[in-house]
Symmetry: C2
DNA sequence: TAAGATTATATCGTGCACGATGCAAATGTA
DNA sequence: TACATTTGCATCGTGCACGATATAATCTTA
């Protein structure tokens, strides 16, 4: 534990490098995503749909931990680009089903190239494959823990 | 390495849990920061100023990896709340010096309580102190690596 | 089955975050 | 000293992200 007077120093925070790394990662993805005409959050939605098509807004919200008031306009922009379809469910009129349009399905193939491109940009840095794998495990554990904390807050 | 068809699955991404954890962490901080009338990015700026007062916009930008076009309106809001002062440097008229106002200095004491509050919310989760310490080290290493990649991009 | 609670989505307002651009002060160079 | 370049900050437009709130559909239950 740091000294009391160093408690609030930037280098002793966990939240700050998390925040910075997240923004910096988005920046690294951006040029690759621009070739697909996707923003980073839009890309995450596409990952969810490529994995399993035909989802409700609610399902996507739970999977990505994004509120529906964030997703609704984002999904409308994807619809405007002709990448997805949005239609009210017949069985439950409250629910809106999201479906990949052909253009959205076509984006899957070029998207498969992205992980490799990101990966290669780590070559030459001090971080190796095993580091990243362990780190990813820790991150998913952290997300689970944070989800528990957030659920117990409301 | 995952199968080619699983390459884009959410659980095989590094960027997604980073992104999710960052947003969730902000959410966990928010109620504590509301007591100080600060947003999360405003809190980061305050951390920087509490550590060392009297900084130019440029210095804060470098420290937090935030662009000046993000900081300028944020700093104006902090100024409007009477938490900081903004004034052009006499020696270099292009530079704007940021200085803590008394109200900003007064916020340091209650802010010292925040790390403990965040810490205690991790009690009961599967993550222990050493895990978090190691994880923090990895995060700072990642930030360094990402900074290198971003610098070599422009 | 009608009233009340819950659920799924949407709207609105605020605050980032960033690229593109502008501008004035400072610096470099012939 | 003239002039181009760089630097530090600011403005503008777009797209999240979220809390508060609204609305309509569905479910519960007296």
């Amino acid at each position: 534990m740091p000294n009391p007077e160093e408690l609030l120093f930037l280098r002793n925070q966990l939240c700050f490098p998390l925040y910075a790394a997240s923004r910096m990662t988005t920046k690294i993805y951006t040029p690759h995503l621009q070739e697909l005409d996707l923003t980073y959050p839009q890309y995450l939605v596409m990952l969810v749909l490529w994995e399993k098509d035909e989802r409700s807004v609610n399902e996507i919200s739970k999977e990505l931990h994004l509120e529906t008031n964030t997703l609704t306009p984002l999904l409308k922009r994807l619809e405007a680009k002709g990448i997805i379809h949005r239609e009210r469910s017949q069985s439950d009129e409250r629910s809106v089903k999201i479906r990949l349009a052909q253009k959205g399905k076509d984006l899957h193939k070029p998207a498969l190239e992205i992980p490799g491109k990101i990966w290669s940009s780590f070559q030459g840095s001090e971080i190796d494959a095993q580091d990243l794998k362990d780190f990813q495990q820790s991150l998913f554990k952290l997300v689970d823990s944070l989800e528990g904390q957030l659920n117990s807050m409301k």
